[in-house]
C-alpha cells in the first residue's frame, strides 16, 4: 500500500477520518467519566444532562459502596479468581494441545481443529443452561471453579489456535537438535519450545483473562447469587439499583482492562486470530 500516490488531498482525508473515528471512540468513555464524577444534579437527575458539567464531585464514588455496592469487594475477588483460573487453564490445556496438534499428521490434526472450531460456534446460553443443572447437582453452582470451567469454553479454542500458530513457525531443527543432544521429551518441550513460544502464551493468557473478566452469559446463569463484577454492574443498573453505582463500578472495571488491552495489543496480531482457521 506504500506505493499508492499520496497527494495533499489524501493526507487531509486521512486526518479527517482519523479525527472523526477518534472522536467516536473516545465519546462514550467521556460520558462514563462525566456520569462518575459530575454532580448528580447535572448528570442523572436532570432531564437534559449537561454536555460539560460545571460541578464535579467524588461523592458518587464514595456513596457507590452502599446498598448493592457493598458487594463490590467480594464481586471483585470472584471476578479475579475466575479470570486467573480461566487464563491459567487456557495455558495448561491450550499449550499442550497446541503443541500436540503441531506434531500430528495433517488429516487427524485438521479433524481435531475442526472439532475445536465447531465448539466455538455453540452459543453460551445453549451450554450454560444444562451446565447450571449439572453444577447444582455437583455443588459447583455459584462457585468460581464451576464458572471458570464453563467460561473456559469461550477461550480454549482461541488460545489453542493462537499458540499453534506460533509453534508452527518455530524451526523444527531446534527440538530435534535438543533431543539428539540427549534432552528428554519434557526437557525439550519446557526448556526449549515453551520459552520460544512465550509471546503467544502471554497473548493467550491476557486474551483469556480479559474475556473472562468481561464474560456475562455464563456468569449470570451459573453464578447469580454471589455475582462477578459484570453481573453486579448489571444488577446496579437495572430497576432496583443505582445508576451512579453502576457508572462508578464500570469505571473501576474499565481502567485496568484498558491498560491490559494496550499491553495485549503489543502481543496480539490479527493474523493470530486467523491462524488455525486458515487452511
Amino acid at each position: 500500500m506504500a506505493s499508492e500516490y499520496k497527494g495533499p488531498v489524501q493526507a487531509y482525508v486521512i486526518w479527517i477520518g482519523i479525527a472523526v473515528f477518534t472522536f467516536l471512540v473516545l465519546l462514550p468513555i467521556y460520558v462514563l467519566i462525566v456520569i462518575s464524577f459530575g454532580a448528580p444534579s447535572q448528570t442523572v437527575a436532570t432531564y437534559y444532562p449537561y454536555l460539560v458539567p460545571t460541578k464535579w464531585t467524588l461523592k458518587n464514588f464514595i456513596s457507590s459502596f452502599t446498598g448493592i455496592g457493598q458487594n463490590f469487594i467480594s464481586a471483585f475477588y470472584k471476578s479475579l479468581e475466575t479470570a486467573f483460573l480461566v487464563a491459567g487453564l487456557a495455558i495448561v490445556l491450550g499449550f499442550h494441545a497446541a503443541y500436540g496438534l503441531s506434531k500430528l499428521p495433517g488429516k487427524l490434526g485438521n479433524l481435531i481443529i475442526g472439532v475445536l472450531f465447531f465448539s466455538t460456534m455453540i452459543p453460551s446460553l445453549t451450554v450454560a443452561i444444562p451446565l447450571s443443572e449439572t453444577f447444582l447437582r455437583l455443588g459447583l453452582y455459584d462457585s468460581f471453579i464451576g464458572l471458570g470451567l464453563a467460561q473456559e469454553l469461550i477461550v480454549l479454542p482461541l488460545s489453542v489456535f493462537l499458540m499453534m500458530g506460533a509453534l508452527q513457525s518455530l524451526p523444527k531443527q531446534l527440538e530435534d537438535q535438543a533431543r539428539v543432544d540427549g534432552a528428554s521429551f519434557g526437557q525439550a518441550l519446557y526448556r526449549i519450545i515453551f520459552p520460544l513460544a512465550i509471546p503467544s502464551v502471554i497473548a493467550a493468557f491476557l486474551l483469556s483473562w480479559l474475556m473472562s473478566w468481561d464474560e456475562f452469559t455464563f456468569a449470570v446463569i451459573i453464578s447469580p447469587v454471589h455475582p462477578t463484577l459484570p453481573i453486579l454492574i448489571y444488577l446496579a443498573s437495572s430497576a432496583r439499583g443505582n445508576i451512579l453505582t453502576a457508572a462508578s463500578f464500570s469505571l473501576l472495571v474499565t481502567i485496568p482492562v484498558i491498560v491490559l488491552t494496550l499491553v495485549l495489543s503489543k502481543f496480539l496480531r490479527g493474523s493470530y486470530l486467523t491462524s488455525g482457521l486458515v487452511g
Binding site: M1, A2, S3, E4, Y5, A11, I14, W15, G17, I18, F21, V25, P28, I29, V31, L32, A45, T46, Y48, P49, H96, A97, Y99, G100, L101, S119, I122, P123, L125, T126, V127, I129, P130, L131, S132, T134, L153, L156, P157, V180, F185, D214, F216, V220, I221, L229, Y234, S237, S238, A247, V253, V257, I258, T261, S265, G270, S271, L273, T274, L277
Partner: protein, 283 residues
Amino acid sequence: MIATRAPLRLNDRMIAYLLILPAILYVFVFAFLPSVQTIFGSFFLASGKFSLYNYQFVTSSFGYSPIVNTFEVTVIALTVQFIAAFLIASLLSKPFRGRAVFSAIFLIPFGVATIVTAVIFHNMFSTFGGYMNSFLVSIGLKPINWTGGFWPPLIALILADSWKNTPIVTLVLLSGMVSIPSDLYSQAMVDGAGAFRRFFYITLPNLAGFIAIALMIRGISEFNIFAMALLIFNRQLLTTMTFSLYDTINPHPAYAGAAILLGIVLIFATLIMLYRSRYVRVV
C-alpha cells in the same frame, strides 16, 4: 541417526495424542454433552414425557418476533461494523505520523467490558437524562424517545454493539490488507483504475478469506448478543427470550429456546463455510 530417530518419532506421536487429550475431553464434556442435553431436553416435559409442547409454548408466548428481531440486529450490526472497519483499516494501512498511537486508541473499545458499554449507551440513549437528547436539543433538534418505536431502540443497540466490536473486525481486515502486495495497486493505477475499482477488483477479492473469518467471529457473537440487549433493547431477542424462560425447576422451555438459537447459529456458520469454500482459493 536414522536408527534412533524412527522409534523416537513413533513415541512422540503417542505423546502428542496424550497432550491433546485433556483439551478434547474438556470440549466433549463442557460443549458437546450440554448441547446434546439441551436438544434432547427440549423435546421432553419435566415429567419425562416426549412432547413438542416446549416449542409450542415458546412460539405461542413470544411468537416469531424474537427470531425476526435477532436477524434484524445481526444483519444491520454486521453491515455497520464492516463498513466502519473497512474505513478504519484502510486509514491504518496507510503510513502517517502517529499511526501506532491511533491504532492503540482504536483498540480501546475492545477492552471495555460488554456490560460497561451497555451501561454507557443506556445512559446516552435514555429519554430521561440521556446525553444524546441533550445534544440534539443543544443543536436545536427535537429529542427522540429512544425506547419507543421500531428504529430508535434498534439504533441505540446497533451503535453500542458496533462501538464495542468494530475493533476486532478492523484487526482481522487490517492483517488481510497488509498481506496484499502493493504491486497490485501500482499496476492497477498504471492501467488507470480509480479508487473504487481498485477496492472492488483488488482489495475485496484478496480479502475474501479474512472477510469470511471476521464474518464468522462476529456473526456468531451477533446472534448471541445478550448483555447489551438486556439493558438497551426493549424487544425480545432469542437470547433474552431464552433467559426469561430460564428456570432451574423446569428448564425444558428454556432448552427449546436455546435449541432454536443453536440451530440458527449452525445454519449461519454453514452458509459462511460455503461462501469460504466458493470464493477463497488461496489460503
